[in-house]
């Protein structure tokens, strides 16, 4: 091993990958843009849907020639316009009305006689606006029913409170001396998104470099001349490894930058009103770095094994899916009741630990196990990479 050779290889590879458009696209552009864009589009979708609902909802009522009080009630509701199309169902299909209210037989009679009066909401199952409109109409019907109920109760001399034995309200318990972790939904999103990012983006950022630095050398036939220079194999390998590691870290940093940018651009979608303690932040960063170190080694090994860019791409792309599994697997786990053996499972432990520290659970045992496992895996991955790079049947695989 020769530090000078390592630095020569590292500098050359950096120069090489940063002159490559793919590095900028995969390592910088995509991570920076993906969240702001996602939240922006989600925001547009949400606002559009909401504004559509704020507009008046067009409905039709099929009364089958009956007169009923409820018709007048709904016609007078604000936000609901009752249309009178010739064929209500055709109008529903065309989207001219969002829902059709069908009165059952003898509707008004049943109301008067205090029997259940049937009413049906016909909606378009492929239109999300239709189902939302239907629930608005349903609420209108409930309001009408409530009015009817009240009349009936007062007729019997009963006050409405009699029918409401309990009053329920929700409040998150915040222990004394602690602050609220913020909006529950935001917390849930962050404990999913952050570990997901910190696992996935080392690969997204590092993969193009890994492919180029391993199989790329083979494909362009530059590996043999390189190996016959005065530099030893280990130095060449370390130089390449450090390049991929840097690209991985850049991928993570840019994606986090993207997340912050997203919260600035669409604060209503991604409020950052939640806090991370310095200790938690240190743990998050170290775990992410260890994961990047481990994955860089694995990616480089696989890439050196592959004979061509294409082959390397085929072998490497499943890694992203493998990395997503722990993130999804842990999505609904109760962070307060994680069993310690789970922290011996590689990758899963990293995700779980990140989630724990995000909600301020600092469990020294979990931290110790996870870090030991991660460090062991980094060492194993480096040893594997070194082994692969020294093996003739890998370097000269034909």
């Amino acid at each position: 091993m020769n530090y000078k050779h390592i630095s020569i290889v590292f500098k050359k590879e950096l120069k090489d990958i940063f002159r490559d458009k793919r590095t900028w696209i995969a390592g910088v552009l995509i991570p920076v843009l993906v969240f702001p864009l996602m939240f922006y589009l989600m925001g547009i979708g949400k606002t559009k849907m909401e504004s559509n609902l704020q507009n008046d909802i067009h409905i039709a009522i099929e009364a089958k020639g009956q007169e009923a009080e409820i018709i007048g009630f709904i016609e007078e509701m604000e936000g609901i316009i009752v249309m009178k199309p010739e064929d209500p169902y055709l109008a529903l299909e065309n989207g001219e009305v969002k829902t059709v209210l069908v009165l059952g037989d003898n509707f008004q009679e049943n109301i008067v006689n205090e029997k259940p009066a049937e009413i049906k909401l016909m909606y378009d199952e492929v239109s999300s606006e239709s189902s939302m409109a239907s629930s608005v109409v349903e609420n209108a019907i409930r309001a009408y029913s409530e009015g009817v109920t009240l009349t009936r109760l007062s007729k019997l001399g009963i006050t409405p409170e009699v029918l409401q034995p309990t009053v329920i309200s929700w409040e998150a318990y915040v222990p004394e001396g602690q602050e609220s972790k913020g909006d529950g939904a935001v917390l849930m999103m962050m404990t999913f998104l952050l570990p997901f990012l910190l696992m996935l983006y080392p690969v997204v950022g590092g993969m193009p470099a890994a492919i180029d630095l391993g199989s790329g050398e083979k494909e362009r036939l530059s590996l043999e001349p390189l190996l016959s220079t005065g530099a030893d194999r280990l130095s060449i390998l370390i130089g390449k490894y450090l390049t991929i590691l840097l690209a991985s870290v850049i991928g993570v940093v840019t994606s986090l930058g993207g997340l912050v940018a997203a919260s600035k651009i669409s604060p209503e979608m991604m409020p950052m009103g939640f806090k991370i303690s310095p200790l938690a932040l240190t743990i998050l960063i170290s775990i992410s770095l260890l994961i990047a170190m481990m994955l860089s080694g694995i990616m480089l090994s696989i890439s050196v094994f592959a004979k061509s860019y294409k082959e390397a791409g085929t072998y490497l792309s499943p890694i992203t899916i493998i990395l997503m599994i722990p993130a999804y697997l842990t999505m609904f786990m109760d962070l307060k009741r994680l069993s310690t053996p789970l922290f011996f499972v590689p990758l899963l432990n990293a995700v779980l630990l990140m989630k724990e520290v995000l909600v301020d659970i600092i469990n020294p045992l979990h931290i110790a196990i996870t870090f030991s496992m991660c460090i062991a895996l980094v060492v194993a991955s480096l040893a594997f990479t070194k082994y692969m790079f020294s093996k003739e049947s890998v370097i000269f695989r034909s």
């Binding site: 000078k4 050779h5 020569i8 290889v9 050359k12 120069k15 090489d16 002159r19 490559d20 362009r220 036939l221 530059s222 590996l223 043999e224 001349p225 390189l226 190996l227 016959s228 220079t229 005065g230 530099a231 030893d232 003739e392 049947s393 370097i395 000269f396």
Partner: protein, 239 residues
């Protein structure tokens, strides 16, 4: 100076080299002739320390290849295939300098040497342009310059003209000629008999991992009373 004795190499169960023997002196060009799969590339890779031999001894400039791989590498240059292995996103100068640095040359020496090489190979015009858009011939010159940036005393060529047009092949042939004149020790493998006859002092004919015949071209011609091509076919043909 190259001295190879009893060189063996296995790939799993396949015995690719079964005791190769030859020597090449300073200022001499040895042609390594053999059919596909004979073992030429394997031999040259072992000489360049990329593969480890499973038996035999190889001594380059008085040093054992297995014991001093790194020192050996600083004294050899390789050109495997014609224009292979140029980094498209680096300039010609950066491509060449990279190998100079890896061979522990000083910055000044590299600069000087590149100026010199750019002049003899007529590369001055494009030396600072990125290699991606170079023609085959331009890339080839960069590859040649890179292989000799550290002025190695031993040059190994593996089918350096395969896939090149006449002009490209000519550049390489002239380069081999220059190496010889500069007193380098040269081995080059080839399928092309005319090329071998033109450039080599001696030939070694390798067949299924053994050297079946070697010697000065003229001696061999006299011995077999045939031209090189016919005697090659006789030696490697299935008998």
């Amino acid at each position: 100076m190259i001295e190879v004795k009893g060189l063996k190499k296995y790939f799993k169960d396949v015995e690719a080299l079964k005791g190769i023997e030859f020597h090449v002196g300073k200022g001499e060009v040895l042609g390594l002739l053999g059919e596909n799969g004979a073992g030429k590339t394997t031999t040259l890779r072992i000489l360049a320390t990329m593969l480890k031999p499973d038996g035999g001894t190889i001594v380059l400039n008085g040093k054992n290849v297995v014991e001093h791989p790194q020192e050996i590498r600083k004294n050899i240059g390789i050109l495997f295939g014609g224009e292979s292995g140029i980094y498209d996103r680096l300039t010609a100068r950066e491509n060449i300098a990279y190998y100079g640095e890896l061979n522990d040359m000083s910055k000044e020496d590299i600069k000087e040497r590149i100026e010199h090489l750019a002049k003899i190979f007529n590369m001055e015009e494009y030396i600072d342009r990125r290699a991606g858009k170079f023609s085959k011939g331009m890339k080839q010159k960069v590859a040649i310059a890179r292989s000799i940036i550290h002025n190695p005393s031993i040059m190994l060529f593996d089918e350096p003209t395969s896939g090149l047009d006449v002009g490209g092949a000519r550049i390489i042939q002239q380069f081999i000629q220059t190496c010889k004149e500069e007193g380098k020790t040269v081995i080059f493998s080839s399928h092309t008999m005319s090329e071998v006859e033109k450039l080599c002092d001696r030939v070694a004919i390798i067949h299924k991992g053994t050297i079946v015949e070697s010697g000065y071209i003229d001696d061999l011609k006299q011995k077999y009373e045939k031209d090189v091509e016919d005697l090659f076919l006789e030696l490697v043909g299935e008998k």
